[in-house]
Symmetry: C2
Subunit: 169 residues, 2 copies
C-alpha cells in the first residue's frame, strides 16, 4: 500500500514526523484501518529510544503530541477525499488535473492518560467527527499493547489550492 | 541561574525535551521571565534544524507541542512552589527534608496560529491561570521575533510525594 503521506506533493514532504523526503525523520505511514474499522485510519510506529520521557522507559510527551499531529493531518486529508468521493492521492495519477488535498493543524488537544512505554509498537487511530467547508475535526487514540495511553482531538484546516498564500504550514 | 529543570530529581531527569541527564536532548532551561513580567516563566530555544515541518524552513508541529509540554510542566512546578512560599529546588538544599515538586501533563491544547520559522530563537512563556489542590492550569505563548506563532493551555497534575505509585510519568 501507498501511505497517505507518500501522496503529499514534494513541497510538503519535508516534515520530521511524516515527510517522505525528510532524510532522517520518523516517516510515519498512515493508512485506513483495514483490519479494524476501515472507516478509521491507523498508523503503527515504535518511536526511537532517544525520545525518552523524564522517567526512562517511557516516551516523552512531545513525541506523543507529534505522532497525533502528523497522523491527524494526514487523516484529515484522507477523510476529506473520501467525503468528496475521491481517493487520496488521485492527484498523482497520470493525466490528473485534480488539486492536491493537504491539511494543517489549527488546534490539537492531547489528554495524557498513562505513561506510554518505549520499545513497543504504538497504534494511533483517527476517526472523523465533523467535516464542514475547509474544516475537519477528528478524534484520535494511542494504544500500547492493549492499553489506552493517550487520546487527542484535532481541528485541521485545508490548504487553499494555491497553498503558498496560506498562513499555516 | 539554575533552571527549573536543573532541580529535578535524577530519576525524573531523562526527558528528551528537558532532562538534564539526557545525553542528546534539547535540555530546555526554563526560568522566571526576569526581563519581562517576572510573574511569568520563559524558555528560549532554537530547535535543531532536523525538526523541520512539511515545508522546509518551518518547525514541525510536534516540536512546538513538545516545547510547550516541557516548559509547561516545569513552570507548573515553579508556580506551585511560589504559591506555597517555597523556592523551586529547595529540596536540593543541604539538609533539606522538603519533598521534590514535579508535575506531569494531564491535558495540553496547542493552537497553531502561523508557521514557526527555523533558525530563530523562540520565546515560550507561561502564565499561571489557576491552582487548586494538585492541579495547575497555565497558558503559554510561543513567539518568533515579534510574531505570536502558537499558544497553548495546559492542565498539569502534581506527582504524589511517592511518585512511583502514580500512573502518569
Amino acid at each position: 500500500m501507498t501511505a497517505f503521506q507518500d501522496e503529499y506533493p514534494e513541497k510538503f514532504s519535508h516534515c520530521f514526523g511524516c515527510g517522505k523526503s525528510h532524510p532522517s525523520g520518523l516517516h510515519l505511514k498512515s493508512d485506513w484501518d483495514f483490519k479494524g474499522d476501515p472507516a478509521d485510519t491507523l498508523v503503527l510506529v515504535t518511536p526511537p529510544e532517544v525520545y525518552s520521557g523524564g522517567v526512562p522507559g517511557h516516551v516523552y510527551g512531545g513525541m506523543i503530541a507529534a505522532l497525533f499531529d502528523c497522523h491527524g493531518t494526514a487523516s484529515a486529508a484522507a477523510f476529506a477525499c473520501r467525503a468528496e468521493g475521491r481517493n487520496i492521492g488521485d492527484w498523482n495519477l497520470p493525466g490528473s488535473a485534480l488539486p492536491p488535498v493537504r491539511y494543517v493543524t489549527a488546534s490539537l488537544t492531547v489528554d495524557f492518560l498513562r505513561p506510554t512505554p518505549q520499545h513497543v509498537e504504538l497504534q494511533i487511530r483517527a476517526r472523523l467527527t465533523r467535516i464542514e467547508g475547509r474544516k475537519v475535526e477528528l478524534e484520535m487514540t494511542l494504544m500500547a499493547d492493549d492499553a489506552l495511553c493517550a487520546k487527542a482531538r484535532m481541528l485541521a484546516v485545508r490548504f487553499k489550492e494555491h497553498g503558498e498564500t496560506q498562513k499555516s504550514a
